[in-house]
Symmetry: C2
Subunit: 417 residues, 2 copies
Amino acid sequence: MRGKQDRPADQAGLRKANLALILDLLRGHGQQSRAQLAGLSGLSKATVSNLVSELEVRDLVRPAGIVAGRQGRPGMLVEVQPRTVSGIGLEVNVDYLAATAIDLTGEVVFECRVPGDVIALGPERLLDQLAELARKVLAAVETQGAWTAGITVAVPGLIDPATGVVQLAPNLRWRKVPMADGLAGRLGYSLARITVDNDANLSALAEQTSGNVVGVTDLLYLTGASGIGAGIIADGVPLRGAFGSAGEVGHMAMDPMGPYCSCGSRGCWETQVGLIALLRAVSTHEDPVRDPALDLEQRLTIIRARAERGDRRTLDALQQIGSALGIGISILVNVLNPAAVVLGGYFATLQEWLVEPARREVAARVLGPDAAGARLVPSSLAFNAASRGGAYAAMRRVLDDPTLAPVQTAEATEAPA
Amino acid sequence: MRGKQDRPADQAGLRKANLALILDLLRGHGQQSRAQLAGLSGLSKATVSNLVSELEVRDLVRPAGIVAGRQGRPGMLVEVQPRTVSGIGLEVNVDYLAATAIDLTGEVVFECRVPGDVIALGPERLLDQLAELARKVLAAVETQGAWTAGITVAVPGLIDPATGVVQLAPNLRWRKVPMADGLAGRLGYSLARITVDNDANLSALAEQTSGNVVGVTDLLYLTGASGIGAGIIADGVPLRGAFGSAGEVGHMAMDPMGPYCSCGSRGCWETQVGLIALLRAVSTHEDPVRDPALDLEQRLTIIRARAERGDRRTLDALQQIGSALGIGISILVNVLNPAAVVLGGYFATLQEWLVEPARREVAARVLGPDAAGARLVPSSLAFNAASRGGAYAAMRRVLDDPTLAPVQTAEATEAPA
Ligand SMILES: [Zn+2]
Ligand SMILES: [Zn+2]
């Protein structure tokens, strides 16, 4: 059915959209003259000049020297002002907290990861730790002279994006945790600028904007952590489902009478290819890779070392998990027909041993030649994808509406309320 | 990334969109005055009058009497002219061919189904029979004084919509069949007005426009025939995937070491819940329900009768298939989070015995309460959904661009080239 959204927007909306368009073109194409921006945008030179002036006043773009023009007349170049504004992404996962800040060009200006036993902490103390981490990022960003567009928190679970409540996160053993409220209160930060989203959705966004599949419009990102979730992008748009819980692929019933899962069902994909299944499969009881006091990276480094020296138990376990990974992916490819399936988390860390067995199952089980065009692509961001995507989502507010950036006076920069 | 599509369309595009909008409002709201249409559309009364005149000249709307206006001034009502134009849908399936024609209001003006052994016929003879069926529909529509917007053919397989070639249809045992070309040639009908699409996609469209889930924006339609396919609508838009082969859910690997499937893989969902699996499960070798000479409806009627009188073998088989159906649906719901899963084909015909066991598995295996909001809804269109959707898709050409309708002279109506 056709609706009112098909008709042209009003003047104010059009102006915001045009400001956003110019900013996007400068982010994508680097330094440009006003004439070049007019050519790229299809807008008139007068309109472009006017838009660029407004972006300059809001300190989002800056002059960038002079270039010879077509008719010999020199043109002033402008470029994105990188360090005015930051987007901050935080991630809560079973084994760690992570934070990323990016600037307006998408460059990472701060990144860190803190190991932690999030289940044992419980929601309240976790929120205390997360607020502490957020303060550290905010301080680092402020030191660089930037204000923050917002904070987006990635959580492995079902989120209500309107309220920022984590409805259900089986791997964290959380139910109805008011994440946005809790963080805003602890930080004294505007609730309107804090959003919460699913870790897999945010990771998919990170891959699409700065990872190995930039510009791919149909893709699937798989988290490879304690929980297995998918961020789905279909025809360029995130697929969230009717009630926001699409992508819960860790709970696909791969073995209906199999072992119990954290969700209460049996034989879910997570019980086969989740991080805990990996740690169990490669080790016996006293093995240090099962030691929760060790950082996840250290445990995966031990597994890598064993695989590299040809340890039979490790290689067999990785082969078996790779096959189970491929069987699940074959289901997702038959359903969604993505051009790329990005393997995140430990799937990327251990890619040398997991990708080949996975690819074999996908090739054998997907209808159509060449896995219907789907490539398996290990993530280049691995465990940083979710907080990177969060930072990008937070920045999106200003990218979509540059008038949110405060008008700069001759005096000091003031952050918006 | 933002692109040029965000800017307002050109004048001609805007006029087409506005003509389409007025036509859509009349289809949705019934008889309206020009003033009412202005209110509904947000366009000026002068613009609406002009648009209505053009639709009248093209015989797509007609005067419909007089209504008292607000200021006491009477207003002329207009309504959709139902019988000017027809959309024709054809369906090719393993056991039958089907045809549907609808008028501009969406009402069915012709519908028929012909049993046939499509595998045995092979593509060439099948195309002969399909052309014969198409001639019958075209003649019926012409008798009613209408011209045809186009013909859309539903096929259970991977289609290249740009060329109308069926790339792969495992259940028909077809590979690279030039369906659109073959039909256009046999009919002497304009190739530009023949499209081919996947049966599940078209069925989903039919359900969304005239079935049990009108207006639901996130839904899944499951064909319940020899092949099991899904038509996916996400956020109001058909999800086709990167290369058009999304929805091949019949080949989800439910039992990786299970029986071989027509696609060459093992343990696909189709081997558990496809029509052939049903017929095998409810019968022994000599049973009439396995007799391909009987029409599909007759065979299903026999199965229904046995279930109704409590036949143990039949009830056990239906219970088991219902559970396997539910396990597969639980996977799809975890991945896609639809608001409704429409059960088509024999799943609808035998709903009394299949839906409950399916619902139990879905409730137990979907993450989140109440199956994350997904309802199981038997189709009201059953085996007519795909050709009904085809008819709607064919009509869509004129609904999207009413200027395709020929300007009527005082003389006889001429069909467009
Ligand atoms: Zn589970
Ligand atoms: Zn198969």
